[in-house]
C-alpha cells in the first residue's frame, strides 16, 4: 500500500509535464456550459487544425473556470510562456488561432481574454484585471480550468488528499474540532455548522453510518455545484472521506440530479481512480480506516434536494420528504444514522484540513467565514460562476462582476438561491450611501428569506413580478410531492389566483386570500411547502403597486402578462409581409389593402414584433 508521500511524488512527476510543457499545452474548457456553447466543435476543430498543419501540441480537457459568458474557452501555454486564455472561440476561429499563435508564434491578442497567473503579453490584459475577476477569492475554483478533472494525479500534485492524509493522523474528535473552528457551515441553504452536524453523527450509535452528498442542485439558476463536480470532482470525494473518518461512517452516497450527466460521469471516474490509489476501500492509506461510496443518479425531482426526500430516493422509493424528527443523524438512509451535506460544504473540508482552520477563517465576516460560490444569470451582461468571500455586497457581483443589466434597462430585483428563497428588490441591492445587502445568511433571514445555495438570477424592468411569481409558484406546485394538503393544494390555489390576476380577472380580495394561504402553508411538513409562498409574499410586500395595478387597472406595466396585452398593427410598413409569414397562427391578415391582427388567432408570441418592430405595437388590452 502506497503512502501519501509516494502518491504525491508520483503525481508531481505527472503534473510536471503539464506545468513545464516541452511543447505547447492547450487547455480546452469542457464543462456542460462550454460544450453547450459549441466547445466540442472547438475541440474537434483544434485537433483537426493541429493535425493538418503538423503542429505538435498537447491538448487537455479541463473544467470550466467560471467564465461561462465567454464560452467556448481555450487556453494556450507555449513552452516557457504565460498561460493565455481565449474566449468566444467557436470552431470557425480555430484555423486563425492555430495559424497565428501556434504556427507563426504570435499571440492573436484580439481573440484573447487575458493572461492567467504570471507573465505579461503585449496587447493582452492580465485576467485578474478583468471586471469579472474583481473581488474573487478562488479557493474552491482554484483547480477548475487548470487540471484535468479526470486525472487524480493532477489533483494530488496540487495538494489534493493532503487534507485526508493529515486527518487520518488525527483523532475523529480533533478533525471535527478543526472543522468547527473553521466556522464552516452548510452551503446548501440552511447554514448549519458542519462540525456540529458531524458531531451528531459521530455520537450516534450503530455499526453502519452513512455520509451523503446532496448534489441534487435543483434550484433553477444555480449551477455552482455542477461547475465544481465537473471541474474538480476529487475535492468533494476527499471531503466526504474525511467526513466518514470523523463521524465513523463506512459508506457514502453522492446523489446527483439527472440533469447533470457529465457531473455523474466525472464523479464516477473520480471514485474509480480514488479506489485504484487506495484512497477508497479497505484500510485507506494504511490507516486502518475503511470507507467506500457510490454515485446515485436522480431522475428529475426537485424535492429530492430536501434531505429526507433525497434519503427516500436512495432507499428505492419515491423521493417524498418525511417528517423530522427523527433527523438523518438518528435515522437516515435505510434507517441508519446519516449525515447529509451539500457539494460545496464537502469541497471546503479538504482545504480546512490542509491549511488549518485559522487560514480558512481568514476571509469572510465576523460570523461567516470562508468563501461562497455564486452563479449569475438572467438580465446580466456576464453569466457565469464566481467565488467571493462571504459578506461581499450583492451589488458588487451584480453590477461589477456581472456588468449590470443590459444598456437602457434598470435593475428591478435579484432572486437569490432558488425558487423558494424569495426576491430581493433593487432598492435593497443598490442603496445610496451604503453597500446594500451583503451575501451572508443573516440579512436574508431578517427579510424572511434564505440566501440559498448560490444562484443569483438578476431581473431588469422588462420583467413582470406577477409573471415571475407565477413561474416560481408553478415550479413549487409542479415539484410538490403531494403529501401535505397545505403544500400541494396551497401552491395550486396560489397559482390559480396569480394566473387569474395575470388574465385580468383579479379581485380586490385576492391579496387577503393569498396572505391567508401563505400563512397556512407555513404548517407544511417540509421546507418545500413552508417556503413555497415566499416569492408571492415578497411580491406582495415589495411590489405592491405593480400587483394592485394588475388587479385594479388590469394593466401589466412590463407588457408581459398575456391576458393584459394585445398586439396591434400601428403602422403599415414594409416589414409586415415578413411578420405575416412568421406568425405561427396566421393571425396577421390583410384586407382592404392593409394589415391587421386578428385577435381571436393571436397567441401573443411576439415573433411579429421581432421582425416588424415599427409596425407592431403592444397595447393594454384594458385601456384606462
Amino acid at each position: 500500500m502506497a503512502t501519501y508521500q509516494e502518491l504525491r511524488a508520483a503525481a508531481e512527476e505527472a503534473w510536471r509535464a503539464v506545468v513545464q510543457p516541452q511543447r505547447p499545452l492547450i487547455r480546452v474548457a469542457s464543462g456542460t456550459c462550454s460544450r453547450a456553447a459549441g466547445g466540442e466543435g472547438t475541440l474537434a476543430a483544434l485537433r483537426g487544425e493541429l493535425a493538418a498543419r503538423g503542429v505538435e501540441a498537447d491538448v487537455m480537457e479541463v473544467g470550466c473556470p467560471g467564465l461561462c459568458f465567454a464560452d467556448p474557452l481555450l487556453e494556450v501555454q507555449k513552452p516557457g510562456g504565460p498561460r493565455m486564455l481565449y474566449g468566444h472561440l467557436t470552431a470557425d476561429k480555430l484555423p486563425r488561432l492555430v495559424e497565428e499563435v501556434l504556427a507563426k508564434g504570435g499571440n492573436a491578442p484580439d481573440l484573447a481574454l487575458g493572461v492567467v497567473a504570471e507573465g505579461t503579453v503585449e496587447g493582452i490584459p492580465a485576467l485578474d484585471s478583468l471586471e469579472w475577476m474583481q473581488g474573487q477569492e478562488r479557493r474552491l475554483l482554484a483547480n477548475c480550468g487548470v487540471i484535468d478533472p479526470e486525472s487524480i494525479d493532477h489533483y494530488v500534485a496540487r495538494g489534493g488528499y493532503e487534507g485526508l492524509a493529515k486527518a487520518l493522523q488525527m483523532s475523529d474528535e480533533e478533525v471535527i474540532k478543526e472543522v468547527l473552528d473553521s466556522g464552516l457551515w452548510g452551503r446548501g441553504g440552511a447554514a448549519f455548522p458542519t462540525g456540529r452536524k458531524w458531531d451528531f453523527l459521530r455520537q450516534a450509535r450503530g455499526p453502519t453510518k452513512y455520509m451523503v452528498c446532496n448534489a441534487d442542485e435543483g434550484d433553477p439558476g444555480s449551477f455552482v455545484n455542477r461547475n465544481l463536480m465537473e471541474g474538480d470532482p476529487h475535492g468533494i470525494v476527499e471531503g466526504m472521506i474525511i467526513g466518514g473518518y470523523a463521524t465513523g461512517a463506512s459508506y457514502g452516497y453522492i446523489y446527483i440530479r439527472d440533469e447533470y450527466p457529465l457531473a455523474v460521469e466525472r464523479m464516477q471516474k473520480a471514485l474509480e481512480q480514488a479506489r485504484e490509489k487506495g484512497l477508497l476501500g479497505e484500510d485507506i492509506l494504511a490507516s486502518g480506516f475503511s470507507y467506500d461510496m457510490e454515485v446515485v443518479r436522480g431522475a428529475g425531482s426537485y424535492v429530492c434536494g430536501e434531505e429526507t426526500g433525497l434519503i427516500a430516493s436512495i432507499e428505492d422509493i419515491r423521493g417524498m420528504p418525511k417528517i423530522r424528527p427523527p433527523y438523518p443523524a438518528q435515522a437516515g438512509v435505510f434507517g441508519k444514522p446519516t449525515n447529509v451535506n451539500n457539494v460545496e460544504s464537502y469541497a471546503n473540508v479538504p482545504l480546512v484540513l490542509r491549511h488549518g482552520a485559522g487560514w480558512y477563517a481568514s476571509v469572510g465576516t465576523e460570523n461567516d467565514k470562508g468563501t461562497k460560490m455564486f452563479s449569475l444569470s438572467g438580465h446580466v451582461q456576464r453569466v457565469g460562476v464566481l467565488e467571493v468571500p462571504l459578506g461581499t455586497p450583492m451589488r458588487d457581483l451584480v453590477l461589477g462582476n456581472g456588468g449590470g443589466v443590459p444598456e437602457g434597462r434598470h435593475l428591478k430585483a435579484v432572486q437569490p438561491g432558488g425558487p423558494l428563497s424569495g426576491v430581493i428588490p433593487a432598492s435593497d441591492v443598490i442603496v445610496s450611501g451604503d453597500v446594500g445587502i451583503r451575501l451572508e445568511p443573516q440579512p436574508f433571514k431578517d427579510r424572511g428569506m434564505f440566501m440559498g445555495s448560490g444562484g443569483l438570477v438578476v431581473m431588469d424592468d422588462s420583467s413582470c413580478v406577477i409573471d415571475l411569481a407565477i413561474y416560481f409558484e408553478w415550479f413549487a406546485e409542479d415539484e410538490s410531492c403531494g403529501r401535505c394538503t397545505t403544500c400541494f393544494a396551497g401552491t395550486r390555489r396560489l397559482l390559480e389566483i396569480l394566473r387569474r390576476i395575470s388574465n385580468g380577472e383579479g379581485r380586490p380580495e385576492d391579496v387577503e386570500i393569498m396572505n391567508l394561504l401563505a400563512d397556512t402553508m407555513r404548517y407544511a411538513n417540509c421546507v418545500h411547502g413552508q417556503a413555497a409562498p415566499t416569492v408571492v409574499m415578497a411580491t406582495l410586500s415589495f411590489f405592491r403597486d405593480e400587483l394592485m395595478e394588475h388587479i385594479e387597472e388590469k394593466r401589466c406595466r412590463a407588457k408581459v402578462c398575456r391576458g393584459l396585452v394585445r398586439y396591434e398593427v400601428a403602422s403599415q410598413t414594409d416589414a409586415l409581409p415578413a411578420a405575416t409569414d412568421i406568425c405561427p397562427t396566421a393571425a396577421i391578415v390583410r384586407d382592404n389593402g392593409g394589415y391587421r391582427v386578428e385577435q381571436s388567432l393571436c397567441i401573443r408570441c411576439n415573433a411579429c414584433k421581432e421582425l416588424a418592430p415599427e409596425a407592431i405595437e403592444v397595447v393594454d388590452a384594458f385601456p384606462a
Binding site: 446515485v296 428505492d316 409573471d467 415550479f475 421581432e610
Partner: protein
Amino acid sequence: MGLGARHASRYSPVELLEGDPHLIARIKDLIADLTSDHADLLVAFHRVQAEMGYVPREAVPFLAARFKTTPAMIFGAISFYSEVHTEPPPGTVVEWCSGPACLLKGSMNIRRAIEAVIGCGMNESTPDNAVGLRLVQCDGTCHLAPLVRVEHRYVGPLTVSDAIKLARDLKEGKKA
C-alpha cells in the same frame, strides 16, 4: 405536471401480466444484478430507459419482484420522477428549458410559438410521434438563454422567429 393522471390508464392490472416475451426477457436481463438493499431502483430506471428510451409497463412487475415491493410502489416511483418516461420517445425531441433565466428572456413566447407550429402541447408529441416537446429543468447553461435542445444539441440564445423557423423545419421532417 399531473403525471399520475396522464399515465394511469397505461397500467391496468390485467395488462401488467401480459407483454411481449422478447421485451420481458430484455428487461429481466437488464436488472438481473440489482438488489433491493443497495439504492438500485434509480439504476434500474436509467438502464431500462437507456436501452429502450422509456420504461415500458411490462417492466413494472419485474422491477417490483426484484425490489421486493408491489407494482403500485414501483409505478408510484415511476410517476414521481419527471425524467422517467412511460411512453416511447418521439423521433425528434425538442426540450424546452423552463428555467428562470430563459423565462426572463422570453422563453414563454418561444414555448407558445413552438407549440403552435408543432401542433402539440408541452410533454406531448405529434400523432405520428415524429416530433415531441419536453419540458426540462435548468441545467445552468444560462449564457445561452433562452434555449431549447434538439436531440441534446443546444440551440440558443433563440429569438421567437428563429424558434418558429426551427420548429417548421422539424415539422417538415428536416433535422435542424
